[in-house]
């Protein structure tokens, strides 16, 4: 019996890459696995994907999935700029970025927010563990206030909230998840890939080596115990009205993504959070922050906001596919300019 394959005739294994060098049990590894699973399930062409990252344990992980894709392991906190450049000159690429909470929340906060503001088309995953894993356990900007770690001491500062930051920068897709919830991570990843602008996925991803004590809100135990799932999510590659109609009215909301796929949200939250309502998203996030809730799910989505390529009025063809005759204006154009600038033509 041969291995199962997807519509590209590729097995799940074909979506793997080098073996991970992260710690056993690290949340980042399980996210890598979900990326592999999703790419396999969606039958993604790996050559259409670019993998981007900053620096950190999290940022290493693109070496461990989609081995046939191009990748760029950028500088600490600077993946957003690389993503902006690459996706602007090649609109066909699907950019999957992996960053850490230090990478995005500390050194990279400015770039992150400006990327979000430009709505650069990238699936931007923050593997959020509240610490700097790679430099051995200092608090990051998302660490809990008052938290104590053997090495780093007590964290006296309030955490920044990646989702809130994204929203304040007018993000068009904001979700939070938990590395321990593989299914939710997968459905969100699929939706994020189908989303046309920046999709921010703040995924709590425990660092088993430095920050997995059950009192930490970034630990597996805490996550499992406290996760409050906003919706039950199902990604539907092609629109299937029957699937929707089966649902009780009022309980299910569908969001059409720009490539024609849909995300079906079955609301679990009593408040019936509506992820297309920005003010509600703000309120929901800020309440959760004040009350210390760990809400997960799709927090906000807006498929209308134009991307950077759109606001730049780019031609549909990726710029890098344009041949010389489209890029270098003709000889006559220069002559005209020379004449205009000339002394005495």
């Amino acid at each position: 019996m041969g291995a199962r394959v997807n519509s590209l005739n590729l097995s799940r294994n074909d979506y793997k890459a080098l073996p991970t060098t992260l710690c056993k049990g690290c949340g980042h590894n399980s996210i890598s696995n979900q990326i592999i699973a999703v790419a396999y399930e969606l039958s993604l062409n790996q050559h259409d994907v670019i993998k981007l990252s900053g620096i950190g344990c999290s940022s290493k992980s693109p070496a461990y999935f989609l081995g046939r894709s191009h990748g760029f392991n950028a500088l600490h906190g600077r993946m957003p700029a690389i993503a902006t450049g690459a996706t602007t000159v090649n609109r066909n690429l699907i950019a999957v970025g992996v960053s850490g909470d230090g990478d995005t929340g500390s050194i990279g906060l400015g770039q992150f927010k400006h990327m979000v503001r430009r709505n650069v088309p990238v699936v931007y995953i923050v593997e959020n563990n509240g610490v700097y894993g790679l430099t051995k356990g200092q608090f990051s900007a998302t660490a809990d206030m008052g938290q104590q770690l053997k090495y780093a001491g007590v964290n006296e500062l309030p955490p920044i909230d990646i989702c809130l930051e994204a929203l304040a920068a007018d993000a068009s897709f904001v979700a939070r998840s938990f590395a321990g919830d593989a299914k939710q991570v997968r459905e969100l990843l699929k939706a994020a890939i189908s989303h046309k602008g920046t999709a921010v996925l703040d995924i709590i991803s425990p660092c088993v080596t430095f920050n997995n004590h059950h009192t930490s809100t970034k630990s597996y135990d805490y996550g499992k115990e406290h996760q409050e799932v906003l919706q039950d999510l199902t990604y539907i590659p092609e629109y299937d009205p029957i699937l929707i109609e089966e649902q009780e009215p009022g309980q299910v909301q569908t969001v059409e993504l720009h490539d024609g796929s849909h995300l079906m949200l079955r609301k679990l939250d009593p408040e019936k959070h509506d992820p297309t309502d920005k003010l509600a998203a703000f309120r929901r996030l800020e309440e959760a922050r004040l009350d210390g809730q760990f809400i997960t799910g799709l927090i906000y989505v807006d498929e209308e906001r134009p991307t950077l390529a759109e606001t730049s009025h780019l031609i549909e063809t990726p710029l890098v596919h344009l041949a010389e005759d489209k890029l270098r204006p003709p000889r006559e154009a220069l002559e005209k300019i020379n004449n205009r600038l000339a002394c005495c033509d």
Binding site: H70, L93, H313, L319, V320, L327, R328, I337, C344
Partner: protein, 611 residues
């Protein structure tokens, strides 16, 4: 002639032949008062009369209200360097008129607004008082009040047109050119010019020797600033992405690029563009975008100045080490630090050459004028893609923001060199792909672009140590091999960058090396030195790294003066470190006070050593 004792001025002027097409005008105004129009109209008028001219703006780092000086050099011999003295002063700034007059060369002229009623207390110059207010009122009574100051500048245009014998038609042409044919401003300004012109014809007897006469020395030439020329060259280089952050004096380069691009590379109907210009949130973002774009296969560039380059340091190291092509224009201004944003220097040579921690050396181009700025615009992309690295084009404020004459720009005669890029077929044919190998022995590997439809085409670009397959490696041998390949690539570079240009004189014993805008100073100083019987050979560097041409040039001269517009003699240091065996032949002549170098300074400095 009367026999009362003649004044120094009369003595100076007495029997003197007219000074034709050889003087410098200094127009002192207030920032934000709109004198730029008047000045460039004057400049262009003389330019169109066939007379070599150059215009330099010395302006403050603010928006409104501070002193600004514009110099127009008129030189029948085609000298365009800054002159230290000036012969004609247009004193339109009350705050500085005292100092401005003080430094006017004996025998010179001073135009000033009559209503200021200054004391004409220098007796070795000619004063021409102009009834500025009255003329504006008379000629353009309906001028909106916020434009009055602006239009007032046309008074000196008119007066100078009379006194210097400039063609009024060319002034009219200049205004038309400046306002792109828009009638209203043209007429308003021209009315004042004409009024002042006529008033001067009637009321201002010429008492000075300065005059212009038509020549034929600018036939077919252009007049432009270097930022526009560089931008245009980039457009003809097929630029696909510009990411930038505003900073003086580089901002106008991107402005010009946007302008040209919107005309040449945007569908007039759909508005669809074949390029992207992104204003980043800072220079780190700008260079990061450019590197992302370059990695993805685009011709990408940014334009900035010293502070921006400093912020780009870490990314510059990444691009160097991950071998990503991109172009960075450094339109240099005074440093260290924020320094003087509106003053020129060639002060970033050493810091750019070694930009980035670790063993790094970058490639730099040095355009000397707008012609070369255009050329660097497109060539830099060819080099960047061929060499898979950053190319720094080292312009400066003097080139970027001042007005230069130039022969017409030459259309690139070679197709765009996209460098060693493998497509899916090539990868298929090879049956393998390793990004950082050196199959050709020139240190340059082959790359693939994201999106290449082949399972072997992908690789992971990184700033960390890697093996030829681009896989992270901490192995000492991988590190050393990679550095040795990069060193090989640097050697390849030497003969690929624009080569030095040499100009010799018979029996010259000493050599001069210069680069970039300092060329104008050397060009003139060599004539001055020749007049003092000091013959010079001259090598103009057009790029770093150096190559053997420069080595032999130095070998052929016992003393080689390296002339540059910075404080530390930075290029001299680089030459000494590259050619230790020739180090003692190098004499550094470096000066930097914010202004372009003057030939008299260089001549003096060389004579001091040689005599």
């Amino acid at each position: 002639m009367s026999n009362v004792q003649s004044s120094p001025l009369e003595e100076l002027l007495d029997g003197q032949t007219p000074i034709v097409n050889d003087f410098q005008i200094m127009i002192a105004t207030v920032n934000g008062s709109g004198s730029q129009t008047a000045n460039t109209v004057l400049l262009r008028a003389m330019f169109r009369m066939g007379i070599p001219v150059s215009g330099k703006n010395i302006f403050p780092s603010n928006i409104q209200g501070l002193p600004t000086w514009y110099t127009i050099r008129v030189s029948k011999d085609g000298y365009i360097a800054r002159r230290e003295d000036y012969n004609i002063l247009v004193a339109m700034n009350r705050d500085t008129i005292g100092e401005d007059i003080k430094y006017l060369a004996p025998g010179g002229i001073c135009f000033y607004p009559e209503e200021w009623k200054i004391r004409e207390d220098r007796d070795d110059i000619v004063y021409y008082a102009m009834p500025v207010k009255a003329l504006v009122k008379e000629a353009a009574p309906d001028t909106p009040s916020k434009l009055v100051d602006y239009v007032a500048n046309m008074v000196y245009v008119g007066a100078m047109t009379t006194i210097l014998n400039i063609s009024l038609d060319e002034i009219a042409f200049g205004l038309d050119y400046h306002f792109g044919g828009k009638e209203k401003p043209i007429n308003m300004n021209m009315a004042v010019v004409r009024a002042a012109y006529e008033w001067a014809q009637d009321n201002l007897p010429k008492r000075d020797p300065f005059t212009v006469e038509p020549m034929d020395k600018t036939e077919g030439m252009l007049l432009l600033d270097g930022n526009s020329a560089g931008a245009l060259g980039s457009v003809f280089g097929g630029v696909q992405m510009i990411a930038w952050y505003p900073i003086t004096p580089s901002t106008s380069m991107v402005d010009a690029a946007r302008d040209y691009l919107s005309k040449l590379r945007q569908d007039p109907e759909t508005g669809q563009a074949t390029y992207a210009v992104v204003q980043a949130e800072d220079e780190i973002g700008a260079i990061g975008m450019v590197i992302g774009a370059g990695w993805a296969g685009a011709r990408a560039m940014t334009s900035t100045s010293g502070p921006g380059v400093s912020l780009m340091t870490e990314f510059a190291g990444l691009a160097y080490y991950a071998e990503v092509p991109a172009v960075i224009w450094n339109v240099q201004r005074m440093g260290p630090s924020t320094g003087l944003p509106t003053r020129t220097a060639q002060g970033d040579i050493l810091s750019t050459y070694f930009l980035g921690h670790g063993d790094t050396r970058h490639i730099m181009l040095f355009p000397r004028d707008v012609f070369e700025a255009f050329e660097c615009g497109w060539k830099a992309f060819d080099l960047a893609e061929r060499l898979q690295t950053l190319i720094f084009v080292m312009s400066d404020l003097e080139l970027g923001m001042n007005a230069w004459m130039s022969p017409p720009f030459e259309y690139p005669e070679v197709p765009m060199d996209r460098g060693k890029v493998l497509d899916a077929n090539a990868v298929e044919a090879a049956g393998r792909f390793a990004r950082y190998e050196d199959p050709d022995g020139d240190g340059i590997g082959y790359r693939t672009l994201p999106g290449t439809d082949h399972p072997l085409a992908g690789y992971f670009a990184r700033g960390t140590g890697h093996n030829p397959q681009a896989v992270y490696s901490e192995r000492p041998d991988d590190w050393v091999e990679n550095m040795e390949r990069l060193a090989r690539k640097f050697e390849t570079t030497r003969d690929m960058v624009p080569q030095p240009v040499i100009d010799t004189m018979d029996e010259a014993e000493i050599g001069i090396i210069a680069y970039g805008t300092t060329d104008a100073c050397v060009f003139e100083a060599r004539d001055q030195l020749l007049a003092e019987d000091v013959k010079t050979d001259y090598l103009r560097l057009r790029a770093l790294p150096l190559n053997d041409t420069t080595r032999s040039f130095i070998e052929q001269h016992d003393r080689v003066y390296v002339v540059e517009n910075n404080f530390d003699g930075q290029m001299a240091s680089i030459i000494q470190m590259e050619y230790p065996e020739l180090a003692t032949r190098i004499i550094s002549l470096a000066h930097s006070d914010g202004l372009p170098l003057a030939a008299t300074w260089l001549t003096g400095a060389v004579l001091e050593q040689e005599q």
